[in-house]
């Protein structure tokens, strides 16, 4: 979170800097099977975010002492390319990347049926090519699509969205300026069928009422995002079927 600034992030008519209303999402586009060598892959554009995800596995976990004889280990690796932000980011993992890798791994593990693959490892590589706030949630949403396209069994898809407080109002899907200069940021990941929460973090301050308003806004929005995930997976096959003139 940045310091307070003179920028008016939201005006009296509830219009935000980029022209959106308080509960409007930025445009989202997801594509699958973008990498031939990976078992599953996806590419997401969410606002200005451009993120590539590659999934490998399940395969035997190495080194052997990392193996869990009861289930597969989900290892997500979140990485920002040096050119993904305005000021060059030094390559390599930093504390923030390690944190995001951890929470995303745990979110995916809640959905993947890891108990079907003892001693195995599922690698999820999340490469941020262009960052525009909400990268962990965009990465998680794309990772879920990539894992499904790899044919790995899951209980449900994982959908993410952020909400936050800017100008004392609760808004959905923070943009870069809102994330930097706003008052609170709440990224959340859920399983849409059961509405169970698998990722939740918060920066800043929210009262209990504001928190509930933010979470309910996110829950509504995830239904729309889940539909985008579904279309990304199925569109290749529906077109083919239409062409066959079934």
């Amino acid at each position: 979170m940045g310091t307070a600034s003179d920028i008016k992030l939201i005006d009296e008519n509830n219009i935000r800097l980029d022209g959106r209303g308080p509960d409007e999402l930025r445009p989202i586009k997801i594509e699958t099977n973008v990498l031939n060598r990976a078992d599953g892959s996806s590419f997401i554009e969410w606002g200005g975010n451009k993120i590539m995800v590659a999934v490998y596995g399940p395969r035997e976990a190495y080194p052997k002492h990392n193996q869990d004889i009861n289930k597969a280990i989900v290892k997500a690796r979140y990485n920002m390319a040096a050119f993904s932000v305005d000021e060059r980011k030094r390559p390599g993992p930093d504390r923030r990347s390690v944190e995001i890798s951890k929470v995303v791994s745990e979110a995916l593990e809640a959905a993947i049926m890891v108990e079907l693959f003892p001693r195995a490892q599922i690698d999820v590589f999340i490469e941020v090519l262009q960052a525009d706030a909400g990268t962990r949630i965009a990465g998680l949403t794309a990772a879920s699509v990539a894992v499904a396209s790899a044919g790995i069994p899951m209980r449900d898809m994982v959908v993410g969205c952020t909400a936050g407080k800017v100008g004392n109002k609760i808004v959905l899907d923070l943009s870069k300026e809102e994330d930097n200069f706003g008052q609170a940021d709440l990224p959340m990941g859920i399983l849409p069928k059961s509405d169970r929460i698998v990722l939740m973090q918060m920066d800043g301050d929210l009262s209990v009422e504001e928190f509930e308003q933010a979470t309910s806004m996110i829950m509504k929005a995830t239904k729309r995002i889940a539909q985008i995930q579904r279309e990304a997976l199925t569109k290749k096959y529906e077109i083919q079927q239409k062409e066959q003139g079934e």
Partner: protein, 229 residues
């Protein structure tokens, strides 16, 4: 089994009346079943299966598979069977008279074998054998890989699809249950057979594929080299 084209993603509830839900779905509520995979719903009167579009191969006992030798130990080979887990081939399960420490002569790293899954335990450790009719080291030829869930479509009812491709192109084809396929013949014909197999892989979820395959192979007849087995 009639094939419908309903596509599901993980978490989708499966509509059913009285059929038993078999593979690819889990119980997600009182009398409700949800899909585990991104794939197609395959129904007949008794069963419903969810067949994923792609995914790893799960070894099962008695499956015939094509494997690649990865490592050589004193008395056994480690075999990559296109699965999350490697399989092991013990020297006593081969038709050759081997002695411990000298098994490299028979199978080297990178060699391919056509074997059978002999046993598998709860930790997904499996053993392969070459001691059965038709099982052998695969010499020469060309290996391609398709997702394991598509193998039944490549084989077809009673082998109809793969035999159609074999006869039309005059190639020898061995299909492993794990998704690896070995082809042998004249290179030009092998390429046509591979194109046909890729076509089945891409259109496995559609109906009318058998007819389209017949038409496709008919159209390629002019290119097929007649001097093959």
């Amino acid at each position: 089994m009639t094939e419908t084209k309903q596509i599901v993603i993980p978490g989708d509830e499966i509509e059913r009346t009285n059929e038993k839900v078999r593979n690819g779905a889990y119980k997600c509520g009182q009398d409700k079943y949800c899909s585990e995979y991104f794939g197609i719903v395959q129904r007949n009167e008794q069963f419903i299966d969810i067949v994923p579009f792609s995914g790893p191969y799960f070894p099962r006992k008695d499956d015939k598979i094509i494997g690649k030798i990865l490592e050589i130990g004193p008395s056994m080979w480690t075999v990559d069977i296109n699965s999350p887990y490697h399989s092991l081939l013990h020297m006593n399960d081969t038709p050759w008279r081997t002695s411990a420490g000298d098994i490299k002569r028979y199978l080297a790293i990178g060699d391919y074998i056509y074997g059978k899954i002999m046993s598998i335990n709860e930790l997904r450790e499996s053993w392969v054998t070459l001691k059965d009719a038709g099982l052998r080291k695969l010499e020469g030829g060309h290996i391609i890989s398709i997702p394991a869930p598509k193998v039944p479509r490549i084989i077809g009812k009673g082998g109809s699809m793969v035999n159609m491709i074999k006869d039309a192109t005059g190639t020898r084809i061995v299909v492993g249950q794990n998704g690896l396929i070995w082809l042998d013949g004249i290179p030009k014909n092998i390429m046509i057979a591979i194109d046909a197999i890729k076509m089945v892989e891409n259109e496995a979820h559609t109906v009318g594929l058998t007819d389209r395959m017949e038409a496709y192979l008919e159209s390629k007849k002019g290119e097929i080299d007649g001097n093959s087995k």
